[in-house]
Symmetry: C2
Subunit: 435 residues, 2 copies
């Protein structure tokens, strides 16, 4: 049997909805066949014979879902924060991504990335690689071994990039994509492909049209970037004069929701029309607050999106975000929402802690199905955080202990156990880097 | 001899001015009698007989200067981030600070705080305690033992606070202050008193007048809060109808620079008149970006202050800031400056990394004298960070290694050594909490 059946005892916190955060001290969380049977204050008799994993006194939380992260940018995270998007891509990102043509470079670089992800509180991630087929497959193989469940996209780019990081033409890019899908077909039960036009700027109409067809033919989801930076948006309109909004450039080729599950990162500068389209097409927004600060992009109006009923998750966006910590990204989401409310539009209330926690778990989790909660029927992703060293003098309520653990990024230091779909991911969590 | 004479070899980074960050790989940093003799690429013959501390491959930086931190709020850091200033004080802060009347509570709480400070990259701090004389003295004793150099202020409050956190009247508050100064007179060479009206709201005119006299009579510096939050500023004007600006309320009683060295935290809503006064009176601004996000205060216009030539340092402002990490506060300063430039006034350029690093070291260091640099003649405060585990695949320039170490808050995990005025502070740096 792939998945064990077991019970975790501990101080259990999870979202039931955007505003309803359940916190049960000394509770029991039951896993059967990789799925949660729910959380109980007393263990029901029917589960009494299951193995008990005693995490008493520790925080037991749903695994974090990172809805937007660039694996090849891990090598230069926390460096070069002095530029805005387009110049940052040219100066730091593209030169680095070129290196992933070399499988030897990619092997070592992706090994470091995957180790870090394995030791993080993240259980699910939606990942960009580069344009390179071989190193993308290598990354997928490593992620599969890690125990995480991910979507990974070989990136498509056929213009507006250095020659060494550009596929010759749309046809080559599409051929490589299909060859990639063929190579990995049936190979990775937990590491799935996702169609990944880098952003509108780096793709010709012909490439986008082809990618739309591939997405439908192979029944694959789509990820990309949307309305991140003013200069980027301006260039999009020059390159796509007939698109009524940035999102329309994807939508006209079937790469923007509806039947194709889609996640778009950023959405800082989405127009009213684009926001309507995001909502009506059921596109997920990957909110990346850290990245949006670092590249001076601005602040996405997440409260507005939530009020409308748009699906929102959180992304670390390594390397424009410096850290793989979803706790950090979650706090940043709260902090920038306070600045948005103060500086831009006070009609939009800041995100409450409960809401940001929901976004980092259930919000992004929905991209993977029933993921991100411990409600009965949700896939069993859990992390255990030993927050004893953060406890201090006062006996705070569990809700406050959770808030502190998140604000102090306990995921980077005090992770104790991790389960993905019921399978334990074993790692030397205390040691941040080396196994 | 109190201070050793020695040489540190390592990868040395320090500010020479706001914009000039010197980075010398495999350099030599010489300490004589607690003062820097400068940094050398080759060790001059005259120092060849000094003890050599080999920190090759590690970052050697000036100690961080935390210009604003509340010791009693360490117990509830990272909790209760849902309110703005005045409600936050009433709901979380005042009830906690009341507990410091009990010396047994204060002893344990301050022990945790001082341990954390000792293990941080901070070598100097300007600290608030509470109104309580006995526990303030306890805190000073512990800080003295820690090896850090600090200013500590017994807080004065005689109105607009719960009865249990209010001194009976101005006279009592002043008597307690003088008694405190008498108790500690000559006792602590590295832990100095600072006059600390909590903020204008919590002090009557009579108390402020008396504190101004005490400051002059004892030749003491002053710390307080200034123009942090709109509701606070409004209440100040109701309570001080004759004050032309918030700062004028301090200035009319001699508590705002000129002959009295003064640091004011926040300055988010300072009017033009107040900004002029800050500049002309030589008042230091303690910029607390993390706190200003958490309490939804806003963003202080630091670029404007720097353009004018105002003295600026950085504060963590625990507990409205959640972390004691000055690296975190330094990054937050950069990040919010980008949002200020984007959302408020693009005429004010974001802070460069070099500039924020200067603020966290030399900028705040000036409050302590010649502190915060390795230029010849500066007091020898240094921290050594073992950033090996952050190094990754690429051989980045030292400047980039420093940037990454700061962005990834290497101070919280990879501190290896710390020196304050030439004296080594020994601690179990790897272990975050317990000795």
């Amino acid at each position: 049997m792939i998945n064990d059946n077991f019970v975790i005892k501990g101080d259990i916190c999870y979202s039931k909805s955007l505003t309803d955060l359940e916190c049960i001290k000394n509770g029991y969380l039951v896993c059967k066949d990789g799925v949660s049977e729910g959380v109980f204050e007393k263990l029901p008799a029917e589960y009494i014979d299951l193995a008990l994993i005693d995490c008493s006194g520790m925080l037991v939380l749903p695994g974090m879902v990172d809805l937007h992260i660039h694996a090849p940018q891990f090598t230069f995270r926390g460096i070069g924060m002095n530029l805005e998007l387009l110049d940052w891509l040219k100066t730091y990102t593209f030169p680095e991504e070129i290196k992933y043509k070399d499988p030897d470079y990619a092997r070592v670089a992706y090994r470091d990335f995957v180790k870090k992800m394995k030791k993080s509180a993240t259980t699910r991630a939606v990942v960009f690689s580069t344009i390179h087929r071989q190193s993308t497959e290598m990354l997928m193989e490593m992620l599969e071994e890690s125990g995480l469940i991910t979507y990974v996209g070989k990136v498509n780019m056929d213009r507006e990039a250095p020659k060494a990081l550009k596929e010759n033409d749309a046809e080559t890019s599409l051929e490589e994509t299909v060859a990639w899908l063929s190579d990995i077909s049936g190979k990775f039960p937990h590491t799935k492909p996702i169609i990944t036009p880098r952003f509108l700027i780096s793709c010709t109409d012909e490439l986008l049209e082809g990618l739309g067809k591939v997405a439908r033919e192979y029944d694959l989801p789509v990820q990309s970037h949307l309305s991140e930076n003013p200069e980027e948006v301006k260039l999009v309109h020059e390159l796509f004069p007939t698109a009524s909004c940035y999102g329309d450039g994807y939508d006209m080729y079937g790469l923007f929701g509806k039947d194709v599950k889609t996640v778009m990162a950023h959405c800082v500068y989405s127009t009213d029309e684009e926001v309507d389209r995001i909502l009506n097409n059921g596109v997920f927004v990957a909110h990346c607050p850290t990245s949006n600060m670092n590249l001076a992009s601005g602040i996405a109006p997440i409260r507005k999106y939530l009020n409308l009923g748009i699906k929102v998750g959180i992304g670390t966006d390594i390397g424009a975000g410096e850290s793989e910590s979803m706790f950090r990204a979650l706090c940043d989401a709260i902090q920038v929402s306070k600045l948005y409310s103060r500086l831009v539009d006070k009609a939009y209330k800041p995100l409450a802690f409960e809401e940001a926690f929901f976004l980092a778990t259930m919000g992004g989790g929905e991209f993977f199905g029933k993921v991100g909660s411990f409600e009965k029927g949700y896939e069993f992703d859990a992390v255990v955080i030993d927050d004893f060293e953060l406890s201090g003098l006062n006996d705070f309520p569990l809700r406050s202990r959770l808030e502190r653990a998140v604000y102090l990024e306990a995921d980077t230091m005090y992770l104790s156990k991790k389960f993905v779909k019921g399978r334990e991911v074993k790692a030397d969590y205390g040691n941040q880097y080396f196994d």
